[in-house]
């Protein structure tokens, strides 16, 4: 309970401070209006309204707040006038800064909002008259009709909801258009040969294949394709550079195919 009270107090405090802010900004606006009305920079003056409206939204937010517990909602509270008096009340005059001298039945409907809006009141009266003029059968009929319409609308809405839900769930399936693991696998394959490394040797001369001697069997294929001179040259290869260049040139480059 204590916790509840504390929450209640803090809510009230918030409202109070907001109200004070609102009051101050209105006051300063009025001061400006009264004292500097000749030199006012109107565009900046208009900013005051924005300020006030932001204070108002802040207050209405607090007023409409629905707390989780639901116990300390402001809208669930009622304010009751306990004592009305025609006599002048000095204390009241002080706390209202001289605005309200008497707390009488005259002002209660406005200040405590016990009285509805006049337009709302006239409409209310019209409805009540209409309701009173109806007989029971007609009323029952109308209620039935109304229920029917409401049920129908609710059917339509729930049907639509089902449709949307199934649609969004299938869309969630479509959204699976790419897979990170596949990306990784493909990039690894193309970039570093992952998953491809073991099949490097294409069958020789197969259709659509490049004619290239596979690296693995290169030494033997090279030997067989090279003439005896060439083999001899290769055998001598580790000797010095100069002799190698010479021997390479002894084989005329264009005599062999």
């Amino acid at each position: 309970m204590q916790r509840e009270e504390k929450q209640w107090e803090s809510t009230l405090e918030q409202i109070l401070s907001r109200l004070n802010d609102l009051k101050l900004s209105i006051m300063s606006m009025i001061t400006v209006l009264e004292t500097q009305y000749e030199t006012i920079n109107w565009p900046t003056f208009l900013d005051n309204f924005a300020l006030i409206s932001s204070h108002l939204t802040g207050i209405s937010k607090i007023l409409n707040r629905r707390d989780v517990g639901g116990s300390c909602l402001l809208r669930n509270r009622t304010v009751l006038p306990l004592l009305l008096s025609q006599d002048r009340d000095d204390q009241l005059l002080q706390i209202t800064e001289g605005r309200l001298p008497v707390f009488s039945h005259d002002i209660v409907p406005d200040y405590l909002r016990t009285k509805p809006d006049p337009t709302a009141e006239t409409r209310m009266i019209a409805h009540e008259q209409k309701a009173n003029s109806l007989n029971n059968d007609a009323a029952a009929k109308q209620v039935m009709q109304f229920n029917k319409v409401v049920a129908h609308v609710s059917d339509i809405i729930s049907e639509q909801r089902e449709k949307w839900e199934s649609e969004s769930s299938t869309r969630a399936g479509v959204q699976q258009t790419s897979s990170m693991t596949d990306t990784q696998a493909l990039v690894a394959a193309v970039g570093i040969g992952k998953g491809l490394l073991k099949m490097t040797m294409p069958p020789m001369g197969g259709p659509g294949q490049v004619m290239l001697p596979p690296g693995g069997i290169r030494p033997s294929s090279m030997m067989s394709s090279v003439s005896p001179q060439g083999v001899g040259h290769l055998g001598k290869a580790p000797s010095s550079v100069k002799t190698n260049i010479k021997s390479a040139n002894q084989i005329h480059p264009f005599q062999r195919n």
Binding site: S178, L196, T200, P202, V210
Partner: protein, 213 residues
Amino acid sequence: MSGIPSTQDLLTQACNNKIIPNQEYLLQGSILDSASDHLFQRLKGLCDNVESGPQLFNDHELCLSLRAPNQAQPLMLRVRRSLEVDAPYQLRYIGQPEFGDRTRPTLVRSSIDVGCTATVIEFLTELGCKIDYEYFSKGYMFRKGRMKITMSKILKVGKGDEALSQSQLVELSVLAPTGQDAIGEEMKAFAEQLKPLVQLEKIDYKRLGSTLP
């Protein structure tokens, strides 16, 4: 007498003026086969080649490495040839990818791309390069300004060209001279437009390497 500058001079001049496109900016991702048509339609709508339509390609790519006795990191070369049209072979050098920090929008790697004759494979193998692996890459190529977007099926060579996975590789790349990092942002923006179909990201190759058996 000769007013013709030597090739060496021209090359150094080109290098100094930074006109050689030797940096590849890259983002990668994949798309499941089932959704590939969806992506295809979206790319068709987003990209430049509206009139000509997307370009079909079917390439055979070989990855070769040249190992030096005193260097740990082998030199990686790639040879690509088209199986569809009689085009020159393409030889590529690709450097180590730089992942960079978080602020860098794409992967950057140095790249030299040259067209060449079909003798290139024999040339390289005789030079001492070893064929590490190879694959077929079959799919579509799109262009958007300087950007190149490919979506392709990666197939193993032999064994009836078995697909590597149930997804297609999607790559967004730009080849540009050094120092044009602004292109990265452009690519990032384009990649955003393909979400949530494809997540194009810079993929850390080092992490891939560590999981290699």
